[in-house]
């Protein structure tokens, strides 16, 4: 799933309400350009559901492997609480820190350069590992489809993994423009594929196609399985918090952001439940829990060749579209770090013709290929989830610092989330629970990733920090923080 909601170039006035610093009251800042604040809760909802859609095609089913089918559904609901906290906190921060750059820029403003450096790394790692995951699924899918056509042994999936990464990197190097409309159709087709599969399995007639009675057993690992499944439970929603980045364009941030995000999560919850219902009624949990392409496998099990083709195309389109977005986002985040001197400035170069961050794009091609051909899907997804999780943990600390440095009334806020600090505390607790869940099955990966971030942070503090242009970091028209 791509994890970005873009922000508009800030040419509109901030939303009304709250204290406005004197500088921000200048006529220049208050002039409004028409047609910008056009989004309502419905738009926020549609955008949120759209970007998380690909998660239905792969990845979520590893939660089944960690604790059984029922545990996966329970984890899906528990993860919903975590994301509710994320949505509330992120709505307040994003509607206030109206700086392009998302969480990376927010960390710069609220905490400082080290936090921004780490958030930048989280973003790059999350997107790159997601790109790798999509490439793995593409390779596996094509190999499985070829086998289905009787071409067993004729296709090496690794070739398609490499091809996916290289072809999409080339498109990003050139600037993706020509395939635009086609991909709008593709995304709609991917969504339709899920609905068609659900209808085709006749969920209104239990036992006809779906065999829940035979396949849906009790919790194979007991209640501990629910805790363990929390790890991949995050996959059901990863990226939904990006909807809050539309703060600049919504008519009423206080209403539209939380409402659109929450209804988006409810929709995803329903979609995830439908997907879970179909898959768990067609496959035993032992198989479903390690399948690379669960929806395509479900379509094959129905025996319909047309349905198989439809789900093949749906999965292929969804993963390729997602991988493309990931290359774009990872390269932009890396480019921004280069421009800010958090990374060597060499990465901050722009292609003279295509206006793309071509060095950042090319830099990640061999890394992505290496992971794609050597690392199992569940591990690359784990790396992606862990990076997201670290970002959420920082978000909980960020809101506490934000309220402390700029208390309510000291700056203008687009939205003030209720019950502070309860959502922050709850988020922190759920993050700790998820770290524990990751540790239960993927302890080595967790420790390796922590070691990586700690080493990178030490390098930043001891070596790289002296190159950072500290004076240019803060661009918000705010008063000095309390205690400064």
């Amino acid at each position: 799933m791509t994890t970005v909601q873009p922000m508009a170039e800030r040419v509109s006035a901030p939303p009304a309400g709250g204290a406005i610093p004197a500088a921000a009251q200048a006529p220049a800042a208050n002039r409004r350009v028409a047609l910008l604040r056009v989004l309502g809760p419905g738009h926020v909802w549609a955008l949120g559901v759209g970007i998380v859609l690909v998660g239905e095609f792969m990845g979520w089913n590893f939660a089944v492997g960690k604790g059984g089918a029922v545990a996966a559904l329970a984890a899906c609901w528990l993860a919903g609480i975590l994301y509710t906290c994320v949505a509330m906190i992120d709505s307040e921060i994003t509607s206030t820190v109206a700086a392009a750059g998302g969480q990376y820029a927010q960390a710069k403003h609220i905490i400082g350069p080290l936090a921004a450096f780490n958030v930048g790394l989280y973003l790059v790692m999350a997107y790159t590992m997601l790109e790798v995951s999509n490439a793995i699924v593409t390779g596996d899918l094509i190999e499985a489809f070829a086998q289905s056509l009787g071409l067993e042994g004729a296709i090496d999936k690794r070739a398609f993994m490499v091809l996916t990464v290289v072809a999409l990197a080339f498109l990003n190097y050139r600037g993706v423009l020509a395939t635009l409309t086609l991909n709008l159709v593709i995304t709609a087709a991917a969504f339709a594929a899920i609905v068609v599969l659900f209808v085709a399995t006749q969920p209104w007639a239990p036992g006809a196609v779906l065999q829940h009675e035979a396949l849906l057993g009790a919790l194979p690992y007991g209640s501990l399985g629910i805790l363990a499944a929390m790890h991949f439970g995050l996959w059901f929603y990863l990226g939904i918090e990006g909807t809050t980045q539309a703060a600049e364009e919504v008519r009423s941030p206080a209403r539209a952001l939380p409402l659109g995000t929450m209804t988006g999560m409810m929709t995803l919850l329903i979609a995830a439940t439908l997907t879970w219902y179909v898959c768990s009624g067609l496959m035993p949990w032992e198989y479903l829990g390690q399948a690379v392409t669960p929806l395509y496998d479900a379509a094959r099990l129905t025996g319909s060749r047309w349905l198989e083709l439809f789900l093949f195309l749906g999965t292929l389109f969804a993963t390729v579209a997602s991988a493309n977005g990931c290359i774009n986002d990872a390269s932009r985040a890396w480019f921004a770090m280069g421009r800010d001197r958090y990374m060597p400035v060499w990465f901050g170069a722009v292609h003279p013709t295509y206006r793309t961050p071509y060095r950042a794009i090319v830099f990640f091609v061999p890394i992505a290929i290496l992971f794609a051909v050597s690392t199992p899907l569940d591990q690359t997804i784990t790396f992606s989830i862990l990076s997201g999780l670290l970002g959420y943990t920082l978000m909980a600390l960020s809101i506490v610092l934000f309220r402390r440095k700029w208390p309510l009334g000291s700056i203008q806020r687009g939205y003030v989330h209720p019950l502070h600090p309860l959502p922050a505390v709850l988020l922190l607790v759920l993050c700790v629970v998820t770290y524990l869940a990751v540790f239960l099955g993927y302890g080595t990966q967790l420790l390796a990733m922590m070691a990586f971030y700690i080493t990178a942070s030490a390098w930043f503090v001891l070596h790289r920090y002296k190159y950072v242009r500290r004076g240019d970091q803060f661009t918000m028209p705010w008063p000095k923080p309390r205690g400064y």
Partner: protein, 224 residues
Amino acid sequence: MFAGLTLLILLCSAAFCVRQHQREAAWRAGLLDDCTGPLSEPRLGRDRAGFATLRGRVGPAVVDVRLVPDTLVHRRLPQLWLRVTLRMPLETEAVLDVLRRPAGAEFYAPDQLPLRLPVPAAWPADTLVRGTAGADIPLACLTPVLSRVLADPRVKEVLVTPDGLRLTVQASQGARGAYLLLRGSRFPLSRLESDQLADTLRDGLDLARTLSDPSSETRHACAA
């Protein structure tokens, strides 16, 4: 049969992409077709990315108009910047750059200016003012005119150098849905309006005039 159908879908997709690419190229090339009016001796052309360019003259200045697509800021919609350069000798020896809403990724703005100057009180605080030694003099001269120019929120950057000045303004902003689904840059703009270019040229000429022939008010500011 399935292989045949897959091949057919791929061929249709390829044909569709080629056609769309042709349409995109035609769109890029024609963006400034309506903008020749404000210039004398206008000459339309294309840059290396296929975007329209326009050259000509306005009064004493040689004008160069370009369109710069910008998709580089993480989590911001793509922007299409209109970059208007007026080449003419100006009464300053310093370089002054005023950048609104800096995000750190403004590749079209100079990156190596050594001084950061304080933002005038009347301006929006999220403005970055940089320059070379002596840039405070043109800043003081131009502050009243720049205040008016920067009041238009579409203005992104004003660069003043001894050889001329350059204004960068927002021509269009990418559609959210297209960007969201495949990071595509679809700008809801068929052709740039002549009025927008005329307004930008007027602002540029005002700035040049203020530097070259300061009124009593600005002369006082410059002297101070």
